[in-house]
Amino acid sequence: MGMTLTEKILANHSGNKSVKPGDNVWVDVDVLMTHDVCGPPAISIFKKQFGEDARVWDPEKMVIIPDHYIFTKDKYANRNVDILRGFAADQDLPHYFDVGTDRYKGVCHIALPEEGFTRPGEVLFGTDSHTCTAGAFGQFATGIGNTDAAFIMGTGKLWVKVPETMRFEFDGDRLPPYLMAKDIILQIIGDIGVDGATYRTMEFGGPGMKAMNIEDRMTLTNMVIEAGGKNGVVEPDEITEAYVRKRTDKPFKSVYSDPDARYHSVRRYNLEDMVPMVAKPHSPDNKATAEELEGTELTRAYIGSCTGGKLTDFIAAAEIIKGNTLKIDTYIVPATTEIARGLETEKVNGKTLLEVFEEAGCKIGRASCAACLGGPEDTFGRLNSDEICISTTNRNYPGRMGSKQAQVYLASPYTVAASAVTGKITDPRVFIQETII
């Protein structure tokens, strides 16, 4: 019997010839990532369990990326970054991306690929649920808690229950000009529900995959956790390898699903038939088409996060925003400092993205998680009362972006930008058919 990509990676990292769903295996970890919220408690568990003088199993394999609560006056939050800094120095960790230096990156899930830490065929754990994003590179990647992270820091290993795999097969040669990967994943989550993939792998493939660039793929795998998925994965191809090769010279070996691999289920989608989607408050599976919600009043738009704060997300938003004034407060938060620099160099119609956003009156924040998860009260873009926000982020449970009185609609950068222009939920086809087609 053949194996899926995920089963193969778990087999070859646990010294097994083959594994099957339900097996518990101990895997060797290639990369462990942590950040400022979960790093400090993981470090204290590590010291308590392995001793004050214990050393991290392999400093080359540990990556620390502060990104959550960075530009705040909160003393506890700042103390947490100090703890990371101290630990990285004590342990001589080469991959620490310190706040306030040129090395500072921003959102960990985007920083990891930029710095070459996401490689096909590998096993990556991170103390953050959206660690599943890295599955876009054909690897096994999932989020864990502080105790598990501390365990890895001491041993380089962790137990994993081999998940069943759900396959999502895409047909079609291209994404229609108004469609983004965000629409596709919102459709899928709406179809299977917020626990539709609990304990399982979501594997994305099919001929339509070729139409998706690496950032599109990252948007898909990023949100598998919103369906309860353990990991999401895209088979590596020349698009993946070209990206990874530019970012690292470390060797890697791509792994693919066998033709006779066994799946929990297979669902097919034709990219050319799909339409802009929105998740209504207060759940990512509360789906509607943008068209159905047309006219819903909004008070804020937010473009940022590991889901919708990548360079291609801002290019998409700028295509719609350029030359328009905006009806509602619109916040722009690049996920990383590299993307922030991209805003200054990338152009649409002869203007940089930054110029487009500034001329339209957007508020522009610094690279970090910012209001995606609310955070301390002084966080940029945080919803502090009863705002009605349309956002390119990934979760809209009560209170996710700050106040539990606020309402959050999740959508693609196209839909969020179109809605920012009109002040109401707007199907981006209204703009895109005029200007692009």
Binding site: A77, R79, I144, G145, T155, T198, L373, R395, R400
Partner: protein
């Protein structure tokens, strides 16, 4: 046997409702700071859905650090959302011993088990519409029963399965020590 008062919640209780992100800054080690996780446990749940069926009941009374409730009864997909271990830790710090739900989001489940915080018990049916906040409960893991002493009803719960060894050991470190994996 785990005994105590029930605190009832609906489905899809995510980690931002269990411990809102603004509070994730406190140390889990420092005994004084740690208490705040108890104070703010479940403070993100909208008021009407907190302490069902009536609602309007906070897990922890204002200005206190510990709850009078011991067992959470939740709907499906309990603990979805982020991977923050602060979530099961906050519940433990508030005084919760066990959760009973028809299903869990996996990272929350794993964190509860590996960190040895609260026992995540799976019920056969969704009990969040039958048990009421304040009911006196008894969880019998040998007979695989949950007894509602107030309503005089008994329900089936599931066996802990392959994670029982880790739960019984008290967490992943204790388990690994028993197995000789770590010193």
């Amino acid at each position: 046997m785990i005994k105590g008062k029930a605190f009832v919640l609906g489905k899809n209780i995510d980690t931002d409702q269990i411990i809102p992100a603004a509070h994730l800054v406190y140390s889990l080690e420092d005994p004084e700071e740690r208490k705040f996780y108890g104070r703010y446990a479940l403070s993100g749940v909208p008021e009407k859905q907190s302490g069902l069926p009536k609602g309007g009941i906070p897990l922890v009374e204002k200005d206190k650090f510990e709850s009078e409730f011991t067992i959470i009864i939740g709907g499906a997909n309990f603990g979805c959302g982020s991977s923050r271990e602060h979530a099961p830790a906050a519940l433990e710090i508030a005084g919760i011993k066990a959760i009973v739900s028809p299903g869990y989001a996996r990272i929350f489940y794993r964190n509860s088990v590996d960190g040895g915080f609260v026992v995540p018990i799976e019920s056969v049916e969704d009990l969040s519409e039958t048990i009421e906040t304040g009911d006196e409960l008894e969880i019998d893991q040998e007979k695989l029963e949950l007894r509602n002493l107030t309503q005089k009803k008994t329900y089936k719960i599931k066996d802990l399965g392959s994670v029982a060894d880790i739960i019984n050991a008290g967490g992943i470190f204790e388990y690994a020590r028993q197995q000789g994996m770590v010193a």
